[in-house]
Structures are given as C-alpha cells and as structure tokens.
C-alpha cells in the first residue's frame, strides 16, 4: 500500500473531490499560486484554474462569508483559515451564519461547505499561532468538527466532509503534515462521527485526538510492556458528532478513563467527555476520570517552555497509573 504524507493525503482528497464534482471550489490566502503556506494545496490551481482555486486577500470574515453565500447558491466551497488561532477574526460567520442558517430557515438553506484550518503546538510558533480551539467549536450546534490524526483519516474524513451537506470544520495539525502513513489508492471514505479503536485493552480507556493520539499510543505500549497494564486507545477523529457509543462501550469494559488533548484543560473537550461518561456509565467506573491536557496558559514560544506545556506519553502514563488499582489513594 502506498505510504504518503498527511499533507499529501489532504492534497489528494481535494484533487479527487474536485475532479469528481465541479461544484467543489477552494478559496483562501496563499492557497493558489503559492500552493498554501504549508504546501497542502500545491498543484491544485495549475490543474483546476484560478476560478476553482481562488487566492483571496487577507479577509477571514469575508472568506467564510463568501463560502456561506456560495454554498447557499449551489457550490461546495472548501475554504481555508491559515491558522486555527484566526478563528477569532471570522468567528461570526461560523457561529452566527454558517452554523445557524440551516436551522433559522428550517432546513430550506443548505450549506455544504468545509472550513479547513490547522492548529497545534510544537513548532515554537508562539501563543497566537499554536492553539487548539476545538472546544469552542464543539460548543456550536449546527457545524460538524473533525480532527484527523493520521494520513489515512485525513484523506477519508476530508472526502466525507466535502460530500456532507452540512458545514464541516476540518482541523489539521501543523506537526502532523509531515507524518507518513499508509493510504490506499482506491477510493474510500472515513465516516464523520465515528471514533477509531486503535488498540484494544481491558484495564483503562485512553481517549485522544490529534497529535495526542500518537502520545497515547506510545503510552499504551510502554504501560503494557513495563507494567502489564493493557490500555484501550481510542482516536476520537470526530468532535461533533461525538462517538459516545464507542467511548461508553470501552469504559463499560475497562472501568477507567483518561482523556488526552493538547488544548487547555479548563473548558476543554475532556470535561465534556468526562461529564458525559459519568452521566451514562457512572456505575461502571472504578476510578475518577482523568484529563491530561495543557495548563491554563497561552502556548509559550521558547522550546523548553513549549515542551513543558504539551502533554506527552509520560504524562499519560502517570495519569493511568494514578487510577489503576494499588495506586496511592485509589480504591482497591
């Protein structure tokens, strides 16, 4: 099976969907002639022309608004926000327009648009270029939100997002663009709203998303090899809709849950998942639900600070150990 980069998987998804459906158009800053600030849209304007791959001025609000208007009138735009941090600049069009038009018109208006963005820390990009803000998006009824952690899911989820008739926010990760993975040549889709169980286990469930999926996988490997603790690792993939069934089924089996995200802990989606699980599966829990997440600070610039900021496999292992039987303070 071919092995390609995460960024190429996205590029392929865009190209294939644009060949498949002439209504799919792209717009964003530097996406056309320059091929995107991270090279993700390279080659697309050459193939599809400047009226299907549109370079825009720096106008996030207008870009998303234009996507809303184009989607409402029959196109299927895929627009880009260069950094997730710039959500602040265009939030009204997502929050009050794209997310609500369908409901406010009782379904008469359809907005089959996709907003691509990338977030995440690890690049020393600094506080305004490193955030993970999916919790803000999870809070908005009317949009779907996905966050692929690997090339296979990136391609499959983006295709699903483009074919979905609802507005979908597609969150990429800047540190994953170079990640290589197996991606079939044949057409496939990854369904929105379905998590992936990456590793089966019986002792503890670890739910993770984005870059943290790989830290969770490392932690699970280490815990099994060193301590015989068998963790079940779930890659959320979708934030909205959330695959509650997969999470609950796992917790009913293991009785323990650790949620990992690199977004700030306070108000992060880990809290939502923890609340949900304790409502629906309280009597299956043998320990408190733990969250491994970033501290309540902006993302710092300097390398040692950023390293201390980001959750990692060590932190995940500590959290799991803290709730396993025999841990100090735990119930037997």
């Amino acid at each position: 099976m071919p092995v390609i980069r995460y960024s190429k998987a996205i590029n392929d998804a865009l190209r294939e969907e644009m060949r498949r459906d002439e209504r799919v158009i792209l717009a964003g800053e530097d996406i056309g002639a320059p091929g995107g600030s991270f090279g993700v849209t390279r080659g697309l304007q050459q193939e599809f022309g400047e009226w299907r791959v549109i370079d825009t001025p720096i106008s996030e609000s207008a870009i998303i608004g234009m996507a809303v208007g184009a989607a409402a009138t029959g196109l299927r735009p895929v627009v880009e926000i260069m950094f997730m941090d710039f959500l602040g600049v265009c939030f009204d069009q997502i929050l009050n327009q794209a997310a609500k038009m369908g409901y406010m018109t009782a379904g008469a208006m359809r907005l089959p648009l996709v907003i691509r963005m990338q977030g995440g820390a690890g690049f020393s990009a600094g506080p305004q270029h490193s955030q993970s803000l999916e919790a803000m998006l999870m809070h908005i009824p009317g949009i779907k939100v996905v966050m692929p952690s690997n090339p296979y899911d990136a391609k499959g989820l983006l295709k699903s997002a483009i074919r979905d008739d609802n507005p979908v926010v597609f969150v990429e990760h800047k540190m994953l663009y170079g990640m290589k993975g197996e991606v079939p040549d044949e057409e496939y889709l990854v369904p929105i709203g379905k998590a992936a169980v990456l590793r089966e286990g019986t002792d503890c469930t670890i739910v993770a998303l984005g870059q943290m999926v790989h830290e969770a996988a490392k932690a699970a490997q280490r815990l099994e090899e060193d301590e015989g603790i068998r963790c079940e690792v779930i890659d959320l993939r979708s934030i909205t809709p959330l695959d509650t069934e997969t999470i609950l089924a796992s917790v009913r089996k293991t009785g323990r849950l650790v949620v990992v995200h690199e977004a700030v802990r306070t108000g992060g989606i880990g809290g939502e998942i923890a609340a949900l699980v304790q409502e629906e599966a309280f009597w299956y829990l043998d320990a408190p639900i733990m969250r491994v997440a970033a501290p309540f600070t902006p993302v710092p610039f300097s390398k040692p600070l950023e390293r201390a900021y980001l959750p990692n496999a060590d932190a995940i292992c500590r959290a799991v150990r803290q709730i396993m039987p025999g841990a100090a303070g735990s119930r037997p």
């Binding site: 106008s59 207008a62 608004g65 996507a67 369908g102 008469a108």
Partner: protein, 319 residues
C-alpha cells in the same frame, strides 16, 4: 422615462404593500401578537421597491435586521412572513427564525440577518457562484450606513473588487445607525465615496424617490451583470420608526418624523402617478384595497395557524 403603466403600478403596489405590512405588524406587536424584536422599514419603501422589482428569482439578495421590505419586494409570501413573525409553524422558517431571519431561498432571498454587515460577504459568495457558473445573475447586499463601519463592509467590498464579482452593494442611508445619527459615526460625507477605495464606482440616489432609485439601480445592475464588477449604490432615505419597536427615541430631534411624513415616498408616488402618468384615483384606490385584503388575509392566516410543537425543537440542526 421608459417604464410602462404596469411597471409603474407594480412599483406603487410594492411600496404600498410594504408600508401597510409594517404599519400592521407595528400594531400587532403592540397588542402582543409578535414576540421578540421588530425593526420596521417605514419610510424606506422606495429603496426596496425600486431595486427588488428589477431582480428575478435567481438574482439573490441579502438583507438586514430591518428586512421585511426587501423580502416583500423580492416576492416573499406575505402570509408566511406574517406567520413567521407570530412564531407559527406555518411561517417561512417554521417559527425558527422570526423577524430578523425571514428568508426564502427559492426566491433568492438569502435571509434577513441579525448581525450588522454579515450579509455583505454572503452576497459576495452568491455573486461568486453566479460568476463561476456564468449565469448572468447578480447579488444585491442591502445594509445601512451603520454597517459601513464594520469589518464586513471593508472586507466584503475589497474581496468583491479583487474578484470582480457581479454584486451591487446597496447602502440604505436612513440617517441613523441604531441610536446614533449619521454625523456621529461617519467621518465622510457619503458612504458611496468609499467605493473608490476599492476601485469601483460609487453612486448615490434619492432614496425617497422610487424612480430615482429605479434608474440608479438599473445602471448599477447593468454594470454588474455586464461583468464589469461591483457597484456601491447609496440611497438616501429616512427611517421613520425607531431602531426597534418600543424604542423611546430620545436621540431624535423633536418634530423630525412629522417633518419627514410630509415627504412620504409612497404617497408622493401615488400623487405623481395621478398627476403625471394618467393613472386615475380609482385605480390607486383599487390597489390600496387589494393590499388591505392581502394584509388582512395574512393576519388571519397567522392568527389561525398553529404554534410549532416542541418536538420540532431538535429538527433542522443538521441536514
């Protein structure tokens, strides 16, 4: 003057329908039939009528929180609009949106909007579709002079100019931005002058004169349809109502609205039709009666329609 009788009467009927709709809902609101906020278009009828009657179904408009006039002029079903204001399930949005969100996508009405300026880039998007598909259709973004201070205004006009899109930006300068008079929030004489900053033409028109609006828009639309890019058309009109129904309007100079009523765009057009276009008074009265009938039917429909069942709450979040 090249408008025929039918076109002239259509302009008059449209304005009269808007005026009577707004006056009627004002009364119904005071009686408690209409919940929430109501922002009335009284005094501005010539702008919506002069413009929207020149648009066909596939041309699109985006509107504002003060959007009843645009929607009516674009052909929206007055019964369904009335029912929407009442929050009934027979409303054009099944009671999900209310006054600020009346819409009818099948008529190219991409919605009234509660966020000032937000309709501007949405219209730009509709114009993008028209250009890419080569349909020859245009988009019209309605907004007030208050929106000319928003980021949406600047970003939207700039983007439309760069992409040379078939969109007409219509600034309805009704003298107030919410509670603030024009002179306090606009550092320049006209919003139209701002078009030059984006490299396209800015026009002005007397928004109190439906024919002046008509001809100005015809020129602007021809330019946009012809592929020459956007136009900004500023129509000077007057907001007779408060910002919202119930607004005590302490910011208004005494006697201002009384003065304005003497120069009524609807009544003065009726006079013009009789005095200069050979339309008999009886014909005007017949139109007025017909409008009353249509409005009364809309009110009856709204009053007799059911409210939505709570089970509808969760519908339409996703398709």
């Amino acid at each position: 003057m090249d408008l025929d009788r039918a076109q002239l009467m259509r302009l008059y009927r449209t304005m009269r329908l808007i005026r009577r709709f707004e006056e009627t809902v004002s009364g119904l609101f005071a009686e408690g039939h209409i919940p929430g906020f109501l922002h009335l278009y009284i005094g501005q009828e010539a702008v919506a009528a002069g413009i929207c009657t020149q648009l066909d179904r596939e041309d699109t408009i985006t509107s504002t929180h003060r959007g009843h006039g645009h929607c009516i002029a674009k052909g929206a079903d007055v019964r369904r609009m009335m029912a929407e204001l009442f929050g009934k399930s027979t409303g054009c949005c099944r009671g999900k949106g209310g006054s600020m969100h009346v819409a009818d996508v099948s008529l190219g009405i991409l919605g009234a909007n509660g966020i000032v300026g937000a309709g501007i880039p949405i219209a730009v998007g509709a114009a993008l579709t028209a250009k890419i598909r080569g349909t020859g259709k245009i988009a019209v973004a309605f907004f007030g002079e208050g929106a000319a201070g928003t980021g949406y205004f600047h970003e939207g006009l700039n983007l439309a100019a760069v992409l040379k899109l078939p969109v007409v930006f219509v600034c309805e300068s009704n003298q107030y931005a919410e509670f603030t008079p024009r002179s306090r929030h606009l550092p320049v004489e006209t919003v139209a002058s701002r078009a030059s900053a984006y490299g396209f033409p800015g026009m002005t028109a007397d928004g109190n004169d439906v024919l002046a609006v008509y001809y100005a828009f015809r020129e602007a639309a021809a330019r946009a349809r012809g592929g020459e890019g956007p136009v900004l058309l500023e129509c000077f009109t007057r907001r007779w109502s408060g910002h919202y129904e119930g607004d005590p309007q302490r910011y208004r100079p005494a006697g201002e609205v009384e003065e304005w009523r003497k120069d009524d765009p609807v009544a003065s057009f009726a006079v013009r039709l009789r005095e200069r276009h050979g339309i008999a008074a009886e014909e005007i009265e017949a139109v007025d009666s017909d409008v009353e009938r249509e409005i009364a039917e809309a009110v009856r429909f709204a009053k007799e329609s059911p409210l939505p069942d709570p089970s509808e709450l969760l519908e339409h979040v996703y398709v």
